[in-house]
């Protein structure tokens, strides 16, 4: 008598795993704060999309404009700016580049034509431009660092997306700095070691160095380094070293050539 082996059931063809739904933009903007690695993984895997960098940059610009308007509405901040302008003119007089009469005239013109409203408008305009320029600049830096130091290639637009999304960190930093400036009544009141200095002077290099040690900037730089690591598929440690080295050198250079105020 023949016995038949039961025919093993034919395994059902497993349906292909459906790809994870693309992260919505709002999700990317939120997750870049808490889980930036996931965001940049998706950026790397998906084609470039303008919204990925344009929306964060616009948010950064709007936040910057609001911050400037709030700061210039503070009497203490206006007084600080006025004192700085007077001090700069006094220095010109001391150096012999200007007479006292010219200084008095310049102060009158400043008081008349460069009041808080004018300064707020010009500052807002500058902030909008700076928002775009800084993102494109960081994108260029990431792209070049990837090519030169990590020996990898990725498109510039990818770098722009990374830099654009990372600017959300700077938005948080803007909000923090604005609140601290309002509370403390000081212009330079970001979450940095400059808070330890009661009379912050942007003309002093030592104070600028303390101001550069800003928690938000470090965080932003770290996020950029992670983005570079993801785009270039390089070890995160290497990317962090490369990006932070650039950041430190850039800060020191700006402070050395007298543009340290732009680094704050």
């Amino acid at each position: 008598m023949e016995t038949t082996q039961p025919i093993p059931p034919i395994p059902e063809p497993q349906p292909a795993e459906s790809p994870a739904p693309p992260m919505p933009l709002a999700g990317k903007l939120m997750n870049v704060i808490a889980a930036p690695g996931d965001v940049f993984d998706e950026i790397k895997a998906t084609p470039p999309h303008v919204a990925n960098w344009l929306i964060p940059v616009l948010i950064y610009a709007v936040a910057g404009v609001i911050s400037i308007c709030i700061l210039f509405a503070q009497p203490a901040i206006r007084q600080t700016i006025h004192d700085q302008q007077v001090k700069a003119l006094d220095k010109q007089v001391q150096l012999g580049k200007m007479t006292q009469a010219q200084e008095d005239q310049a102060l009158q013109v400043m008081d008349k034509f460069m009041g808080p409203t004018v300064l707020a408008i010009s500052g807002s305009f500058a902030m909008v431009i700076y928002s775009f320029v800084s993102v494109f600049w960081w994108a260029l830096v990431l792209w070049l660092l990837g090519r030169w130091f990590l020996k990898t290639q990725f498109t510039y637009l990818k770098a722009v997306e990374v830099a654009g999304l990372a600017s959300i960190i700077l938005v948080l930093g803007l909000i923090l700095s604005t609140l601290l400036a309002v509370i403390l009544g000081r212009l330079y009141a970001g979450p940095s070691l400059a808070l330890l200095v009661s009379d912050f002077d942007p003309a002093r290099r030592s104070h600028l160095l303390l101001g550069a040690a800003n928690v938000v900037y470090l965080w932003h730089t770290g996020v950029l380094a992670l983005g570079l690591a993801k785009l270039s598929a390089a070890p995160a440690t290497r990317a962090v070293i490369v990006v932070f080295s650039y950041w430190i050198l850039a800060e020191l250079l700006l402070i050395a050539i007298g543009l340290g105020q732009w680094a704050l």
Partner: protein, 462 residues
């Protein structure tokens, strides 16, 4: 795996949210006040010298204007401007012809008077002899009384005529002396040793004498060995100036030299008023002046400088008051603010009710007394408040990061410091700048930030 990740995200957002909300609440509810940047100094002790600054001119102490007493034409002028002359030197001669004629005329009158006197003398002698002769006859009863009286009278008349002639001689003699004196005045010599600092006339000019009017000022002679500064001081400052006060002088022509002097005289009346003035009004104008009231002060210059010229401009700093080791603050620290007095309304005392009633309302109602008395007291207090809101000298004392307005009583000042007579203690930190902050922005309780001084070398970057 996804769950811990989700929890981590939530935790991060929660932390960020809490921090932002907390900061926002603090920012919204925090009292905002402008922070004013100031500079500070400590109240310290210094010696002060109060100075009154006045401008004027260098003038010689002794300065004589030569004007002739007689009128005439200058025929000789052997001196020139800038020449040194000694006392007694010939200065000028005026044409003496008229005066010589006057002398001759007077002399002739004198001689005529003498002749008249001689005649009167002879007449007296004759009348006297006739009197004597007829007296003998009268005594011998050989002459009538009436005839005798005639001879007596003739003698008396002759005597009177002699007396008159004698007086005429004196008059004529005085006329001669006067004419001679007028003649002598046509020659003018220097009354002092000095330098001719101005010469206003030339040979041939006709000059007027001081007998008729003010006289022509021919020249001025000054003793340049003794120089003084004549400065004009305003009426507010002149009360603090007295003879004997030391002075620092700066002559415009000698910018690199400092001179010293002593106040020797202070005018009693203002320039231009003239009456009762201590000093001759060389600078007095005519009529009433619209300019500020000023008084002339004379300051003797201690140093001898041959190059001094009368009329040189000079600035004097008269040291009027001194304070040694006085409590002082920088000049810029003191400003004025309207100060509100601490109004204290005392409640009316029940024990003194009747007295207050009679003084205030005159009512005898006990119930209404306290209200009326209280109302009157409050009304007078309110009236005092309005009247007391006067600008008061104040200084801003630093208390932590705020300032307190402290009224002070100031004394004298010099170029840098005010003396503080009352209101501050030694070592207190006070606001000394900036100018706008002290003069306008600072109020009682203002929040401040001590900024670096705006003058001096910039801080070196480390």
């Amino acid at each position: 795996m996804a769950r811990p990740k989700k929890r981590r995200k939530l935790l991060i957002f929660l932390i960020i949210g809490v921090v932002l909300v907390a900061l926002t609440l603090v920012a919204v509810f925090k009292k905002r006040e402008p922070v004013i940047t100031v500079q500070t100094e400590k109240v310290a002790r210094h010696s002060l010298t109060n100075l009154v600054v006045a401008n004027g001119q260098i003038q010689p102490v002794v300065q004589v204007t030569i004007s002739p007493e007689v009128s005439g034409e200058i025929i000789e002028l052997p001196v020139k401007e800038g020449q040194s002359v000694t006392k007694g030197d010939l200065l000028l001669k005026i044409n003496p012809d008229v005066y010589i004629a006057a002398v001759n005329q007077a002399q002739a009158g004198y001689e005529s008077a003498l002749a008249a006197k001689d005649s009167a003398t002879a007449n007296l002698e004759k009348a006297g002899a006739d009197y004597q002769r007829n007296l003998t006859l009268f005594n011998s009863k050989l002459l009538s009384e009436s005839d005798f009286v005639g001879f007596k009278a003739a003698r008396d008349v002759a005597k009177a005529q002699l007396d008159s002639a004698d007086d005429q001689v004196n008059v004529a003699k005085a006329a001669v002396e006067s004419a001679e004196e007028q003649l002598a005045k046509t020659t003018i010599v220097s009354p002092l040793t000095g330098t001719i600092t101005s010469l206003n006339s030339e040979v041939g000019e006709r000059v007027l004498g001081t007998i008729q009017n003010a006289g022509t000022e021919i020249m001025t002679i000054s003793d340049l060995n003794q120089i003084e500064a004549r400065v004009n001081v305003g009426e507010m400052d002149v009360v603090s100036i007295a003879p004997g006060q030391n002075t620092r002088l700066e002559v415009d022509a000698f910018k690199d030299r400092k001179f010293t002097g002593v106040v020797t005289a202070v005018a009693n009346s203002a320039l231009g008023t003239g009456a009762g003035s201590l000093l001759s009004g060389g600078n007095s104008g005519s009529g009433q002046s619209q300019q500020a009231t000023q008084f002339q002060v004379r300051i003797r210059v201690n140093e001898k400088e041959p190059a001094f010229r009368p009329g040189m401009s000079v600035t004097a700093e008269i040291e009027t008051e001194y304070r040694t080791n006085a409590l002082t603050v920088p000049l810029a620290s003191v400003t004025t603010r309207p100060m509100k007095p601490a109004v204290k309304v005392d409640p009316p005392k029940t024990g003194g009710t009747n007295a207050m009633v009679s003084a205030a309302s005159g009512t005898n109602t006990v119930a209404g007394t306290n209200a009326v008395a209280g109302t009157n007291t409050m009304a007078s207090a309110m009236k005092d408040t309005k009247e007391s809101l006067k600008p008061t000298d104040v200084v801003f004392v630093v208390e932590g990061d705020h300032v307190k307005t402290v009224p002070v009583k100031i004394g004298i000042c010099d170029d840098n410091y005010w003396e503080i007579a009352d209101g501050l203690t030694n070592g207190e930190e006070i606001v000394s700048g900036g100018y706008r902050a002290v003069g306008r922005d600072l109020k009682d309780g203002s929040k401040i930030r001590v900024g670096p001084a705006e003058t001096g070398a910039p801080e070196a970057n480390p």
